[in-house]
């Protein structure tokens, strides 16, 4: 057989085979030694998948356990355009469900992308409707979405979660680290159909879910607070307002409403000003609501009693300046109780003058003015009480009736809370408890200090009840209950250091039932259209709120 083949040909063939064998051997040798790692990595990548398992964000609940914010996986609709048989037909079918023009969907499908989202985080009914269409080339991918079942309710308390899953503002911002939890990892081997191999490698570091928060907020009270605030703001065409409800017995915040407000689910279209929580971050000159603090200081230091009298001539002179009552009224012989009933500026100046600068300053600081309360919410303002060294002689008079000092609605509410509870100033708080795998951890109320004695607080309560029953705050009366409170009308400082003409801030601070206070509320309206009569609207709002709060808390009437 081989006789016909020349030896040269045989040698060439042999050489070729030998070379090929050598090359193949070298290649195999290379993959077994130098290229082994890359080969292994490639094979492992084909087989294994390494995933980050996101932790479930904690749920936020009200004091009764009702959901205020929770995270749910919604389905995002994606498309692989090459697999969608008829773009025009698919777009026409999807348009009404996705509430997107068919042309937009068609252009997205025809954009040349291999894979794209058509709509992210679809509402469940829409996702089901799309699923029912069974259009080839469309699919769903779950994506977490923060949901607020009560819509805009308590928006400034809750804050919101941005697209990156980070909490912003309010509780979502302040407690973001706790709420977010710690993500886990999962490494598994998968088959060609991307199914997890039951007998394959599986290593997992489980995620640690975020902590659930139980707030002090009461959904019923919050709803009532937002309703009455909105009504008051709309009636007065006020650019802003805030309403705060606290439990004076421990400083728990029951409701916190701020106007303008926003919907946490639609932050992108919200007015930036609406994101601001005015109840804790807005400092304003409070006006006559401060008279209660001035008189509390006077009574606590025994320089005056409720029956101490002075001769009201309409104005008082202090530091060479005349400080007058509203609308130039003069009341003649007036008791300290009547100073509150009539809201006499000259009377407040009388008490402050007897008290002196230093004690007045010390009491203001003891009531917590000029210092942040330490509430567990972001962006709290400290207000402003100028250092005593910077006071002019006239300041002791103006501060006595709440001008020349800036406070937040929260600080004012805490001060009235101290009067209501017998003289203890608490640190306000919003998170009542945290719940994690170890169980529930409750927040202990913190008593900061006692600015006044229980006797002084008791006396003040009686005087403030008289202010509502017989005085200027009659609009806050609630049938069947004793109510204590005080109105406030303050001028607004302008940038040039003077006061704005004909514009005011109206407020009301009060609590009920006065004998065993269950709540303290402060309502503030900025620039009400009825100007000096803005306090009437504020009192009316307090009345409406008190009716709802007392009913929902099932508080027994303390009056016939």
């Amino acid at each position: 057989m081989t006789e016909g083949i020349s030896p040269t040909r045989l040698r060439v063939l042999f050489a070729l085979f030998a070379t090929a064998t050598l090359l193949l051997s070298l290649r195999v040798g290379y993959w077994q030694t130098v290229g082994r790692a890359a080969l292994l990595e490639g094979a492992t990548n084909q087989l294994q998948s390494d995933l980050v398992v996101e932790a479930q964000r904690g749920v936020i609940r009200d004091r009764s356990g009702r959901v205020l914010a929770t995270t749910v996986d919604l389905r995002s609709l994606y498309a692989i355009p090459k697999r969608v048989p008829d773009h025009a037909e698919a777009a026409a079918k999807l348009a009404p469900i996705l509430a997107t023009p068919a042309a937009t969907i068609r252009s997205a499908l025809g954009s040349g992308a291999e894979w794209l989202y058509l709509k992210r985080r679809l509402p469940e009914p829409a996702a089901r409707a799309v699923e029912a269409l069974a259009i080839p080339g469309l699919g769903f991918e779950p994506e977490p979405k923060r949901m607020y079942p009560n819509d805009a309710l308590a928006a400034q308390v809750l804050g919101f979660v941005n697209d990156d899953g980070h909490g912003q503002y309010g509780i979502e911002g302040a407690y973001d680290k706790l709420l977010r939890g710690v993500p886990g990892r999962l490494t598994v081997e998968r088959d060609p159909k991307d199914r997890e191999l039951a007998v394959g490698l599986r290593t997992a570091v489980p995620p640690r879910n975020g902590v659930d928060l139980v707030l002090t907020i009461d959904l019923e009270v919050q709803t009532a607070a937002e309703r009455v605030l909105r009504r008051a703001v709309e009636k007065e065409k006020a650019p802003s307002g805030s309403l705060l409800v606290l439990d004076p017995r421990d400083g728990a915040v029951l409701a916190l409403a701020s106007w303008p407000t926003f919907d946490p689910a639609r932050v992108a279209v919200a007015d930036p000003e609406a994101l601001r929580n005015r109840a804790v971050s807005w400092a304003f000159e409070p006006g006559s609501t401060m008279k209660a603090v001035t008189i509390a200081a006077g009574i606590d230091t025994h320089v005056v009693t409720p029956t101490t009298t002075y001769e009201d001539k309409g104005c008082a002179v202090i530091g060479g300046r005349r400080l007058c009552n509203a609308q130039g009224k003069s009341y003649g012989t007036t008791t300290v109780t009547q100073i509150l009933e009539r809201s006499a500026n000259a009377g407040a100046v009388f008490v402050a003058a007897k008290l002196g600068q230093d004690p007045l300053y010390q009491y203001l600081r003891a009531f917590g003015f000029g210092t942040a309360t330490g509430i567990d919410l972001a962006a709290e303002a400290a207000g402003s009480v100028r250092p005593l060294a910077q006071w002019y002689p006239v300041d002791v008079g103006t501060v006595a009736y709440g001008q020349g000092i800036a406070v937040t609605p929260l600080q004012l509410a805490m001060a009235y809370g101290a009067i209501a509870n017998g003289g203890t100033l608490y640190r306000p708080y919003v998170v009542a408890a945290t719940r994690d795998a170890d169980g529930e951890h409750r927040t202990a109320p913190v008593a900061v200090r006692s600015p006044i004695s229980p006797d002084t607080a008791d006396t003040l309560r009686t005087m403030l009840v008289s202010t509502v029953d017989r005085g200027i705050a009659g609009g806050a009366k609630v049938a069947g209950y004793s109510v204590a409170g005080k109105t406030g009308t303050a001028q607004i400082p302008s940038e040039d250091g003077r006061y704005v003409d004909d514009a005011y801030i109206s407020s009301f601070a009060g609590f009920a039932p006065a004998n065993d206070p269950r709540f303290v509320a402060v309502i503030v309206l900025e620039r009400p259209q009825s100007k000096l009569l803005g306090t009437v609207t504020a009192m009316s709002a307090f009345h409406d709120l008190a009716v709802d709060v007392l009913r929902s808390a099932r508080v027994q009437p303390d009056r016939p």
């Binding site: 959901v67 929770t70 749910v72 079942p149 009560n150 819509d151 199914r195 309703r227 027994q556």
Partner: protein, 119 residues
């Protein structure tokens, strides 16, 4: 030519026959042992494959059930949100208003102590 089976060894009786029996037994035994080993290995392989298949099938079934569980949990979470939305006091107030309901002008309160004192 030698006839080994016909030659009678010294002093012995029927040794060749015995030798023949031992050889046969050994062959049979070897055959049986090897066959048994092959069968055992085969059975073990079958058993292993059967178990591996069962585990794999169970694994896929577990995954399917996990997906069902996750979906049920998701649906449950959605229902909780819907329940919270329907329970919202603001929604109930709006619905009551739509139905023409008005707020009670007064709420009578029954004091428990005087009633208890009468009994």
């Amino acid at each position: 030519m030698r006839r080994p089976f016909q030659a009678r060894p010294r002093g012995g009786h029927a040794v060749p026959r015995r030798r023949s029996g031992v050889g046969t037994t050994w062959e049979v035994r070897t055959f049986v042992v090897v066959s048994a080993a092959i069968c055992a290995v085969f059975l073990l392989v079958v058993l292993y494959l059967s178990q591996a298949t069962t585990v794999a099938t169970s694994g896929y079934e577990t995954q399917r059930l996990e997906r069902v569980r996750d979906e049920l949990r998701r649906q449950n979470a959605l229902l909780e949100v819907e329940s919270a939305r329907l329970d919202s006091p603001a929604r109930i107030e709006a619905e009551a208003k739509r139905l023409g309901l008005v707020r009670a002008a007064s709420v009578p309160v029954v004091q428990a102590e005087p009633i208890a004192a009468k009994r």
